[in-house]
């Protein structure tokens, strides 16, 4: 009984770590950061570069984080001379190409941080891709793009 339990546990662990390694080699996240805001800021933005290293298109469907009340994929667009933020249900990244989450474009909208974030702090966001791929990304809180 004990043996079978540890086998199952071992299988689960090795599977999840394999998936983790797999997600890393499929999408490479770099320059991941959160723009530091005033102490009372209720919404912050997360930026990063996501390079699709696989030979297939990857589709980003959303994100979640235990460091925030909620996380949404957003795009700042200019509509009739005004900046709008649109919720984006999916963003496709073509094989070999890089998706830039950047100011004035696609970004993660990070709502209600669980604690006030200061420069040097780090938060983790889990990016969810089509097909069940989950990519954990650590974002540095900073005043400037790292």
């Amino acid at each position: 009984m004990k043996l079978s339990l540890s086998i199952i546990l071992g299988l689960i662990l090795s599977f999840s770590s394999a998936q983790m390694r797999a997600s890393d080699s499929i999408i490479n996240a770099s320059h991941a950061w959160v723009q530091e805001g005033p102490p009372s800021a209720e919404v912050l933005a997360g930026y990063m570069d996501l390079q699709n290293q696989s030979s297939q298109a990857q589709t980003l469907l959303g994100a979640r984080s235990t460091d925030f009340k909620s996380v949404m994929l957003h795009q700042t667009v200019n509509k009739g001379g005004m900046a709008h933020m649109n919720h984006t249900p999916r963003i496709e990244i073509k094989p070999g190409s890089t998706l830039q989450l950047t100011s004035g474009g696609y970004h993660l909208m990070l709502m209600s941080p669980k604690k006030a974030l200061r420069q040097g702090d780090q938060v983790e966001v889990l990016l969810e891709f089509q097909g069940g791929l989950v990519l954990p990304v650590k974002l540095k809180v900073s005043k400037e793009r790292p």
């Binding site: 005033p38 009739g80 005004m82 900046a83």
Partner: protein, 221 residues
């Protein structure tokens, strides 16, 4: 309808020469057509050859003082319209405004008479205290301002700035759509240029120096 005077042509020639010296490209638009407003459009800064005098307006600053046309006179003023619950455009613009202030004012030749205002178009959430904390975080010399919707529209209307509340009053975190440009007012209280993102600080700095010289020639103290 005014005919371009000799003085005006002289100023224009100087603008061209100085811009060339500043390493920028400048195009004249609709110069031959007097029925259109003459603009000097540019990727960085759109300068109005005929600056537009602003009419009276009254708003309230973060220290609960009146913010009116008088406050803009005697100084160059950069205005930005936004709101503090804005995660993307506003923090990056305020960070840029702070860098711009540093660039424009640094050194012995730096401008002494420039000021920066962040005007919230979300008065429901942005109280004076919230604005003060927000601008103070980015740069204590940026002053937060707001007012009632009617008061705000009086100023935004004159500048062609737009804003609109997201129509979802039940939502706790509604968006406010707003123009992402910067508006530049000269020391005579005239709307003289608009700047569009992405803000290239060092180019803005060079253009601003040219603009100051042109302004000094066209409106002697």
């Amino acid at each position: 309808m005014r005919l371009p005077s000799f003085k005006f042509s002289l100023i224009l020639a100087s603008v061209l020469a100085m811009t060339f010296l500043a390493g920028g490209s400048l195009f004249l638009f609709n110069l031959g057509d007097e029925s259109h407003p003459r603009l000097i459009p540019d990727q960085v800064m759109t300068v109005f050859v005929d600056p537009k005098p602003l009419r009276e307006f009254v708003l309230t600053d973060q220290n609960s003082h009146a913010f009116d046309l008088e406050r803009l006179k005697g100084k160059w003023s950069f205005l930005f319209f936004g709101y503090t619950h804005c995660p993307d455009i506003c923090p990056s613009t305020l960070a840029n405004l702070s860098k711009l202030r540093e660039q424009l004012t640094k050194g012995v030749n730096g401008s002494k008479n420039v000021q920066f205002f962040f005007i919230s178009v979300d008065p429901r959430r942005d109280t004076a205290a919230i604005l003060k904390e927000y601008t103070g975080y980015f740069d204590p010399s940026i002053i937060g301002v707001t007012g009632t919707e009617l008061e705000l529209r009086n100023l935004t209307g004159q500048l062609g700035a737009l804003f609109e509340l997201e129509s979802a009053p039940d939502k706790e975190s509604y968006q406010v759509y707003h123009t992402s440009a910067l508006f530049l007012i000269n020391p005579q209280g005239q709307y003289v240029a608009s700047l569009m993102p992405p803000f290239d600080i060092s180019t803005i700095n060079r253009r601003f120096i040219v603009l100051k010289k042109v302004n000094a020639m066209s409106s002697p103290p």
